[in-house]
Amino acid sequence: MANANITAGKQQTSSLRKKRNRYIMFWCWLFVLPNIILFTLFQAWPIVTSWYYAMSDWSGLSSQIEFVGLANFQELINDKYFWNAYKNVFIFTFGSVPFQLMLGLLFAVILNNPKLKFASIYRTLIFLPVITSASIIGIVMGFIWSTDGGVNYLLMQLGILDVPIDFLGSMKWAMPTVIMVSVWMSTGINMIFWLAGLQGIPKELYEAAYIDGAGHFKTFFSITLPLLIPIGAVILLFNVAFSLRVFDLIKTLTDGGPFFATDVVSTYIYSAAFAGEIGQPRMGYGSAAGVFFGFTIIFLMLIIQYLRSKAKANRYV
C-alpha cells in the first residue's frame, strides 16, 4: 500500500513536472515566435528564393523566369572578375580584422583603467563612427582622402609628401585606404565588446597578481589575455562575418574601383543583379554569386568554430 502510494506520488510529481515543463516551453516558444516569424519572412524566405533564382536566367524585372540549372554557377567559376572580387574581399578581411581587434583591445584596456579621467568621453568619441551610417562615412571619407583632402594636406604640411597621392583613385592605394577607413569605423564596436570581456574578469585576480609582484605587462599577458580568449573568439567571428559582407562602405567610397581594385563580392553581386548597359540586369546570376559566397562564409565559420572547440578541448578557451 505504502509502495503504491509512493509510486502514485512519483507519477503525480513526474506528471506535474512534465506539465510544468510544457508550460515553460509554451511560454518560451510564444516569446520566440515573433522573431521566428520575422526571421522566416525577411531572412529565411529570401535565402530560399535566392537558391531558386540562382538556378534561373532572370533579369529581376520580368515575370518570365527560365530554369537553367547550374549554368550560372558554371559561368561564375569561369569569371576572373568574380575571383578578383573574391580575392579582394579576403584581402579586405585579413587587412582589417586584425587591426580592428588589436586597436579595439588596446583602447578597451586603456579605457578600462578606473584611474583614467574622462574615460566615458573618450569611449564616446571612439564609438562615434559606429553609430554613423557607413554610407555617410563613405561620402565624407571620399573628401578627406581625396587629392586635396585633409590627409594629403596634413602629409604635405608635415613634409612627408611632395605631391598629393590619389588614395582612392590609385590601384595601389585604394584597398589600403578602404581598409584604414574600415578599421577606424569598426574599432569602437570592438572596444565595447572587449570592455564587456574585461569587466567580466574578477578583480581579485589582478590584486593577487600585484601582491605577487606582477607588473602591467605580466598581468596583461598572464591574466587578461587568456581570460579574454573566449570572448575574443566570438569577436573574431563577428568581425570576419561583417568584413566578408562589406558593401555600403565600398559602394560609397570607391564603388569597387579603380578598375576593380576594391571590387568585393557584394559590389560584384550588385553590379550583376542591378546594372545593365545594353543587356538586362542579371538577378539570377547575381543570386548565384551570393549563394556561392554564402557557402564560403558558412565554411569559414565552421572552421573557426572547429578551431574554437579544439582550443576549448585543450583548455585554451
Binding site: D79, M171, P258
Partner: protein, 490 residues
C-alpha cells in the same frame, strides 16, 4: 505569485497586440489595393487624383506650375501627386509599386530597362487608343523608335527630350587666355586637344588643369567612347552592342583605340584634374565652373545650371575632337524612353490628357527650352524658344548628329536577341576609367578581348533568341548601305 501572473498577462496581451498589429498591417496592405479602389471611387465623387513620378527634379518648379494650369482646365482632377526621386530611387520604387499593383498613373521607362520587356510584363498600355488622333504628329521626325518608344510599331512612351549628344566639349575661355590660347580657336584634333590641355595644366601650376570629368561614374567614359568613337568611324550607339557599319565590336580598332590613346596621353601629361577619380558628374561640373579645369566633356543640361549659378563663368563649346584624318562618322542619335501610362491606371483618359497638355500645350515645352533645361521633342519648339548658348549648343551638335539605323525598327525580333544579350565585363567604359584615372596602360589586349567577347555574346544571344522562335540573325545588326555621315533612310 500575483505579480508573476500580472507580468505574464501583460506580456501575453502585448504579444497579442503585436501579432494583431502585424496581421492588421498585412490587411492594411491588402486593403490598400482595395482601399485604393475605394479611394478612387471616393476620388470620383470628390475629385480625381492623378499620380505622376519621375526623376526630373530640375524642372519640378515648371511641372508644378503646369499642374496648376492642368487642374484649372480639367477641374475633375483636384490633385496631382507629383513625386521626383533620384534615378536609382525611382527604379527601386517603381519596381515595388508595379509588383504591388500600385504604380503611378504616369511614369517614365526606367533607365537601362527594355521597353518591350516591360510591355510584355504589363507595365504600360498603348498610347494611341487613349490620345486624340493626330497627337503624335506634333513631334519631331525620329522621336519614336522601335524598341525604345514602340513595340511592334505601337507607341507606348514619349521621350522627355529630343536625342542629343552627351559628350560634347565645354571649355573655359579665361583659362585659355591664361595659357596663351585663342578662345575663339578651340582644338579640332586629338593632338591639338592634348596640347591645349597640357598648356592649360602648365599655366595652372597646380591651380587648374586641362580636363575634369566625373570619373567616379563610368557612364561618363562610356559616352565619350561611344560618341567620340562614332565620330571616328566606330559605328557605336546605345541600341547595338556592335558597330552598325561592320556588325562587329569595334573596340580594338583605331576608331576606338585613338580615344584610349588620347586619354592615356592626357593622364601621362598630368592634364586630368587629380580629383577626377572621386567626382560625380555634377561635382565635376561645379569644379569646372569654379575655374579649375580647361575642358569638361558634358551635355546641354549644364548650360542652364551654369548660367543660373555661375554667371561669371565665361565658357565656350565645341564638337569633340577628331583624328588627323578628319571626321569619319557621326553621333548616332538614339531616342529616350520617356513617359508612358500605367497599364492598370483607373484614369487612362485623364493620363492621356496630361500627356497631351504636357507636350501639346503652349506652356511646358516652351518653358523647359526657354529656361535651358531640355530640348523639346515637339517640332518647332526649340527653334522658337531656345536662345543664347542653349541655341548655339543645339546648332553645334546638329552638325555631327544623325539618325542612324535602328535595328529594332528593321526587325522587331532584334529586341528578343537583345533581351538575351549579356554585357561583357570589363566594359569599354570601365577600361577607360582605369586608363584615365588609375594608370592602366595595358589596355590594347583588353580591348581586343572585349571585342571578341562582345561578338561572342551577341552571337550567343542571337542563337538563344532563335531557339525561342525569334526570326533574327547577325545580318540584322549590319547596315552596309548606311553612310554614317548622313541620316539613315531606308
Amino acid at each position: 505569485m500575483k505579480k508573476k501572473w500580472l507580468g505574464l498577462t501583460v506580456s501575453l496581451l502585448s504579444l497579442i497586440v503585436f501579432l494583431f498589429a502585424c496581421n492588421s498591417n498585412n490587411e492594411t496592405i491588402k486593403e490598400t489595393g482595395n482601399a485604393n479602389e475605394g479611394a478612387q471611387e471616393e476620388n470620383d465623387e470628390d475629385g480625381i487624383t492623378l499620380r505622376v513620378m519621375d526623376w526630373s527634379d530640375s524642372t519640378r518648379y515648371l511641372r508644378e506650375e503646369f499642374h496648376e494650369q492642368f487642374m484649372e482646365k480639367y477641374p475633375e482632377v483636384t490633385n496631382i501627386e507629383y513625386t521626383t526621386l533620384t534615378q536609382q530611387q525611382f527604379t527601386d520604387t517603381i519596381l515595388n509599386a508595379i509588383r504591388s499593383g500600385d504604380a503611378p498613373d504616369i511614369f517614365p521607362v526606367p533607365l537601362g530597362f527594355s521597353l518591350p520587356v516591360l510591355v510584355d510584363d504589363g507595365w504600360f498600355q498603348p498610347l494611341e487608343p487613349i490620345v486624340e488622333d493626330g497627337f503624335f504628329d506634333i513631334f519631331r521626325e525620329g522621336t519614336f523608335q522601335e524598341g525604345i518608344n514602340m513595340v511592334d510599331e505601337t507607341i507606348y512612351s514619349i521621350p522627355q527630350q529630343t536625342a542629343q549628344p552627351t559628350a560634347m566639349v565645354f571649355y573655359n575661355k579665361e583659362l585659355f587666355e591664361k595659357a596663351g590660347l585663342d578662345p575663339e580657336q578651340p582644338p579640332k584634333t586629338y593632338e591639338e586637344f592634348r596640347e591645349y590641355a597640357r598648356k592649360i595644366t602648365e599655366a595652372g601650376n597646380g591651380e587648374f588643369y586641362g580636363l575634369i570629368e566625373g570619373g567616379k561614374q563610368s557612364n561618363r567614359f562610356k559616352f565619350a567612347i561611344q560618341e567620340w568613337g562614332s565620330l571616328n568611324g566606330a559605328g557605336l550607339a546605345d541600341n547595338s552592342p556592335v558597330s552598325k557599319l561592320t556588325g562587329e565590336a569595334p573596340y580594338h580598332t583605331e576608331a576606338v583605340t585613338d580615344i584610349f590613346d588620347l586619354f592615356a596621353g592626357l593622364a601621362d601629361d598630368g592634364s586630368i584634374h587629380p580629383r577626377t577619380s572621386s567626382l560625380t558628374a555634377p561635382e565635376a561640373r561645379q569644379i569646372f565652373a569654379n575655374g579649375e579645369a580647361g575642358f569638361i566633356i558634358q551635355g546641354a543640361w549644364n548650360i542652364g545650371v551654369w548660367n543660373a549659378n555661375n554667371p561669371e563663368l565665361d565658357y565656350g563649346m565645341m564638337t569633340p575632337p577628331v583624328s588627323d584624318d578628319g571626321r569619319q562618322g557621326s553621333i548616332d542619335s538614339v531616342a529616350q524612353g520617356g513617359f508612358g501610362v500605367y497599364a492598370e491606371t483607373d484614369h487612362p483618359d485623364l493620363a492621356a490628357k496630361y500627356l497631351e497638355e504636357l507636350y501639346g500645350g503652349d506652356f511646358y515645352q516652351h518653358k523647359v527650352v526657354e529656361n535651358q533645361h531640355n530640348y523639346s521633342p515637339v517640332a518647332g519648339v526649340i527653334e522658337e524658344a531656345a536662345t543664347g548658348e542653349f541655341l548655339e549648343f543645339y546648332e553645334l551638335f546638329n552638325e555631327i548628329l544623325v539618325h542612324g539605323p535602328v535595328p529594332e525598327s528593321e526587325n522587331p525580333d532584334v529586341t528578343k536577341a537583345l533581351g538575351e544579350y549579356v554585357d561583357v565585363t570589363p566594359s569599354a567604359a570601365e577600361i577607360m576609367q582605369g586608363v584615365a584615372i588609375s594608370g592602366l596602360r595595358d589596355y590594347e589586349p583588353m580591348l581586343q578581348d572585349l571585342s571578341e567577347q562582345t561578338d561572342a555574346a551577341l552571337e550567343k544571344a542571337i542563337t538563344e533568341a532563335q531557339d525561342k522562335g525569334a526570326d533574327v540573325g547577325m545580318e540584322d545588326f549590319i547596315f552596309p548601305d548606311w553612310d554614317p555621315m548622313k541620316n539613315y533612310k531606308k
